[in-house]
Amino acid sequence: MNATSEKFLVVEDVSKYFGGLAALKKLDLEINSGEILGLIGPNGSGKTTFFNVLTGIFKPTGGSIHFNGRDVTGLPPQSIYRAGIARTFQRSRMCLPLSIFDNIMIGNHIRLNHGIWYNLFRRKSFARDFVAQHREASELLEIFNPELAEHIFEAAGDFPMIDRRRMEICRALISRPRLLLLDEPSAGMTHDEMHQLMNDILKVRAGNPDLTIIIIEHEMNVIESITDHCVVLNFGEKICEGTYQEIASDRHVQEAYLGGSDIEDEPPGEPRDDEKEGEQWQTV
């Protein structure tokens, strides 16, 4: 066994180019099982692209990804999910016309029976499974907001953003993944809501300490309070790695965020828009 198989997730030299545009440049990253890693960086620094490469939405241009001792580089999203990686999206991708329960069950795909005969004609056994799934989904929702569990059969679109984020996290958690990817869970929330959500996430993790989390976040309070370890990206490159205290005092990080006034030879490039990444979904 070489060194790479001991770590839970090992990302080596991963690059992603869109034409001539480097969204990720030779990214290296390692996480141990049970860690919470914060992924930070200015807009357009490649954070979401990294999630999309990791979950198979984009194929990496180069490099390799090993998850739990297995090479998962370039696998389709379906296989990544089966391997035990679940995610949330930057702009929450919930099916708003469907009920909360429906949305959570979409995340539970791997644990449901999809046989035609079973679904159409073995309705008694289906009903038993349904009741069990309903109980499980309600219990999960209760951790976040008991009210959601009560209204589980109402349309997801009828709830405010914070509740949709909670549902989305439940959708990712219901299949009991080994690695959870949270893409800016606090986007569009008030300060109080954000704190609530972070407490909920910590509660979930207290329930299963094995769960590894990578979180993309702009709110430094969040990063400070929940992460064990941080990676800072800028223009697709890792510029710093360490605990929150270490990165907060790092000169490169301050430059990336505040603009380097004292360094002349690195002109600030055009900030790339994270929105653009969303338009380029590979057909899956």
Binding site: T55, I57, P76, P77, Q78, I80, Y81, R82, A86, R87, F89, R93, M94, C95, L96, P97, L98, S99, D102, M105, I106, G107, H109, I110, L112, N113, H114, I116, N119, L120, F121, R123, F126, A127, F130, V131, H134, S138, I152, F153, E154, A155, R171, S175, W281, T283, V284
Partner: protein, 386 residues
Amino acid sequence: MKSNNEAPHSLLLGLSSAVALLAYTAIFMVAETEAAIVAIIVFGCIAIFLLKRFGKLAQINLAFRTHQRIMHYAVMSGVLILAAIFYDSHYTLFLIATVILYLVACLGMNIQLGYAGVINFSVASFFGIGGYTAAVLTMQTGLPHLLIILAGGLVAAAVGSLLLLPVLRTSGHYAALVTIAFALLFKTFLEVNDSLGGPQGLQVAGMHLFGFEFNNNIVIGDVDISFYLPYVILSLILAIAAFTITKRLERSWIGLNMDAIRLDETAAACFGLSIPRWKIKAFTFGNFIIGIAGAVYGMMVGYIAPSNFTFGDSLILMSIVLLGGLGNPWGLVVATSIVIILPEKLQVIQEYRFLLYAIVVTLMLLYRPEGLVPRQLRCYIPGWRA
């Protein structure tokens, strides 16, 4: 709790609405003059407006939800009573059977478009494939006719699989164009193909089940019953089966998967759903149901030609699905009845029906995109409470 108290009341209302609808349809069918028909339609519109105004429509809706089984039986018996009233009228029974068979085809289309979001502008072609399969098999072979109906569905599903590759590789408008092209090709193919009768079409033998000839009038004593009555009953059985399967599909993990890929393919893929797999299942299963309806239709009309299965006919079926409400089988029942019966009874609009449907569909999409009877949230186990 509130709905529980209202439930018995709503059942009464639901049942009386079924009776009223039966009476209304019967009177509509009997009406001969254009003035009378227009008057009846206007009366119907006012009645529905008033019901909605006083919140009764919502209660009727509730009756269908809370007393599903009873309401289903009520509607089934309604159709049978209607058929019994017009037992000797070829024309009316033919119309009823046509509506029911189109409904079956629309249920198939609903699985494709309403659930999985697979657009299909060649529904009439698959309906025609069922009909042509029935024509060839009834005239050339001695296969039992029940098997021939099944074969109609299987052949439609098999031919549909030819379209799978282009449909899966394209999306949105392009997928629509592929199916439009297929509809046009299908008609041309039939017209130039002499072994399938060319433009003149083919004769189809009447249904023959368990030693019983469908295409002979039934004479019991002095009463002469139209030979279309058995077709009404057979189509009703098919419709009940298609309806039940559609409903069960919706109330299962399969229906959920189809909804998920329709609403967000990327998110669905990130949770392990294979997009092609569910599109293929929906498309093939839908075509199977459409083909079965086409086979029975062919046997009923006795003669089919390419001009019965044009792109225009597909558009009519599409307008039914859009009018009724995507994903709602009950909406299809309402919409099929309106779209098929109205131009038949009101001959003035027969010529302008495409124009009329175009206007209606455009208005619907603009002002009520969820259709006449919008789809409700999924309820996996009817009557189940946490």
